[in-house]
């Protein structure tokens, strides 16, 4: 009996079950798509390229080269990683960045660049024989503010590069020093900077191998920097050398390579010695050349104790003669191969600050000193051919011959003035006497650029100013017909010889 009920109940349950089936509406087909935005936008790149004939050719050439080189090697994993880092690294862009810095600077100061390249002062025609100096760029390095410019030297090969030695002449203000090289292509910031322990007193850039720069320091060391090496330290240093100077090195000059093809230079110092240094592999080998004579006022037995401070040194271009100026106001002429001095000139009453041979005439040299005078000499005569007293009370700190004329020279004084003379035009007066720095700034050095008509002057604030010479200061000699003669050493020598013969 119980079995019947479940069956009916089951049937009832079945019958009463709700019909839950439905007929749903069929929607029309719909396309649905999603798109994600590109992930980190910096990694998403656009690539575009063109395929022109030269591009295809270049690519094939490179591909052939690459296949020849790496046919046996496969790229190692480290190289792969390196190349990845390289893509995001700008360290090797230093060259491009420097180029850009120079271009941006010259674009901003385009007027100065134009003046440098093209400007010729037309008003010189109305000024008689006088000329002017046009200020161009000023070279400043903020870390050199407390230092004075102690040396200037143009690179003979790269005519837009010059070296500045920074230090101090004052005994009481000795700190560190710097060797800084600027290029006219980027006056904003130096091209090379080297810090030194002691102040730099002199700089000379090798004439042919302009990556070798010799410096002399206040503490008596000489050092040679190799600009091709990327290091802060000089490549050769005389610090540990037994031949090192015991006084400040006042001048260094490169010489021609010796018989073993070694580079060498000669230095003069406050200890009175002239020493020749030869670069042998990684060492500096010294040779004592000559000692400056001590004046007769000092008793015989003390002559070894006292030393004559050599202040300046210049070598003749053709002969082996050289000139040394001293603190006693004398100039000694000697030869590289003799132990004694050939001649002594009583040049100035006070320290001789500069002595330079004339680049064209083999017998002529110029000297200047603290006694306000500039004197021009013929080496065969004991007294000067020309004497100029520049300014009362202003010591003459440096003088330089112009590379384009045997009769043009320029001098700088502690009053901040530049004096330019052309003996061919006026034998008694300067053609230009111009103050180029602000008050109370002393000018310490001057150099003519080998090719461009500009001069650079260094002052005691660590600044270097470049100035353009106006046409009247660059006059070329004219022949009988009134036409300008082409520049040649013989013409220049003859010009000066003519002037001197009138005085003899």
């Amino acid at each position: 009996m119980t079995t019947q009920f479940p069956r009916i109940e089951r049937l009832k349950a079945k019958m009463s079950a709700k019909d839950e089936s439905k007929v749903g509406t069929v929607k029309s087909e719909e396309d649905k798509a999603t798109q994600t935005s590109p992930p980190n936008s910096t990694k998403f790149t656009n690539f575009s390229a063109t395929a022109s004939q030269w591009e295809i050719y270049d690519f094939y050439q490179e591909e052939i080269k690459r296949r020849d080189q790496s046919s046996l090697q496969s790229i190692k994993e480290e190289e792969f990683e390196d190349s990845l880092i390289k893509i995001y690294d700008i360290a090797h862009l230093a060259g491009l960045a420097r180029y850009m810095e120079g271009k941006v600077f010259h674009r901003a100061y385009a007027d100065i660049l134009y003046d440098f390249k093209h400007f010729e002062d037309a008003s010189d025609e109305f000024r008689g024989e006088k000329g002017t100096l046009l200020p161009l760029w000023k070279f400043e390095y903020d870390k050199a503010k407390s230092l004075s410019v102690t040396a200037l030297c143009w690179d003979q090969k790269h005519n837009d590069l010059f070296a500045v030695g920074l230090g101090s002449h004052e005994f009481t203000q000795q700190g560190g020093g710097m060797l800084v090289l600027y290029t006219l292509r980027n006056p904003n910031y130096p091209e090379f900077i080297f810090n030194t322990v002691s102040g730099i007193m002199c700089v000379d850039v090798h004439e042919d191998l302009s990556h070798l720069v010799a410096v002399g320091l206040y503490d008596g060391c000489v050092a040679v920097y190799n600009l091709r090496k990327k290091s802060d330290e000089p490549f050769w240093n005389s610090r540990a050398n037994p031949g090192r100077h015991k006084g400040a090195v006042t001048q260094v000059k490169w010489q021609k390579d010796d018989l073993d093809s070694n580079h060498n230079f000669i230095s003069v110092s406050a200890d009175g010695r002239l020493v020749s240094w030869t670069l042998v592999k990684h060492e500096l080998v010294f040779t004592d050349m000559i000692k400056l004579p001590v004046p007769d006022t000092i008793p015989e037995n003390l002559k070894d104790v006292f030393s004559t401070v050599g202040t300046n040194l210049d070598f003749h271009k053709q002969k082996d003669n050289f000139l040394v100026g001293t603190e006693y106001g004398k100039i000694h002429k000697g030869s590289k191969f003799y132990n004694k001095f050939a001649e002594t000139y009583d040049a100035h009453f006070m320290t001789v600050t500069c002595v330079k041979w004339n680049p064209f005439h083999p017998d002529v040299f110029i000297s200047c000193g603290w006694d306000w005078m500039v004197k021009i000499w013929d080496q065969t005569m004991k007294s000067p051919m020309f004497t100029f007293e520049l300014e009362i009370g202003a010591a003459v700190t440096d003088v330089a011959w112009a590379p384009y004329s045997s009769t043009v020279f320029a001098a700088v004084t502690t009053e901040g003035k530049v004096h330019v003379f052309d003996l061919n035009i006026n034998k008694y007066e300067a053609l230009c006497q111009q103050k180029v720095v602000s008050k109370k700034t002393k000018l310490l050095h001057i150099e003519f650029n080998p090719v461009h008509p500009i001069i650079i002057v260094g002052d005691d604030r660590g600044h270097v100013t470049s100035l353009k010479l106006s046409p009247n200061l660059r006059k070329k000699p004219k022949d009988k017909k009134g036409q300008e003669l082409p520049m040649s050493p013989e013409v220049e020598k003859a010009k000066l010889e003519q002037l001197l013969s009138l005085l003899r």
């Binding site: 656009n46 690539f47 063109t50 090797h92 960045a97 941006v104 901003a108 910031y189």
Partner: protein, 98 residues
């Protein structure tokens, strides 16, 4: 900071310089002091202009190639310099500059 970065900072500090962008061989700006949008905008446009310019120079003389492009506009002055695959853009406001 290495030399290249120091130099780029100095360029940015020069009077009147609004922006400096360094773009690498793949066209990605790796250094810039402008906002992102502008950087990409300039990069994209100058990449094309530079490619065009190089094509013109090579067409005129296969040994020669452009090293600096200097564009003077009404409002500013743009310098683009290239070195193999990299290039650098510097923009100066010509009214502000000296």
């Amino acid at each position: 900071m290495n030399e290249a970065e120091k130099t780029i900072k100095r360029i940015q500090a020069q009077k009147g310089v609004e922006g400096v962008i360094v773009v690498n061989a793949e066209g990605i700006p790796i250094e810039s002091n402008l906002d992102h949008q502008r950087t990409l905008h300039y990069t994209y446009n100058f990449q094309q202009l530079l490619a065009r310019t190089q094509r013109v120079m090579k067409d005129l003389d296969p040994q020669n190639e452009a090293t600096l492009l200097d564009i003077q506009t009404e409002k500013n002055n743009i310098l683009v310099s290239t070195d193999k695959d990299y290039f650098m853009i510097a923009m100066k406001n010509s009214r502000e500059g000296p």
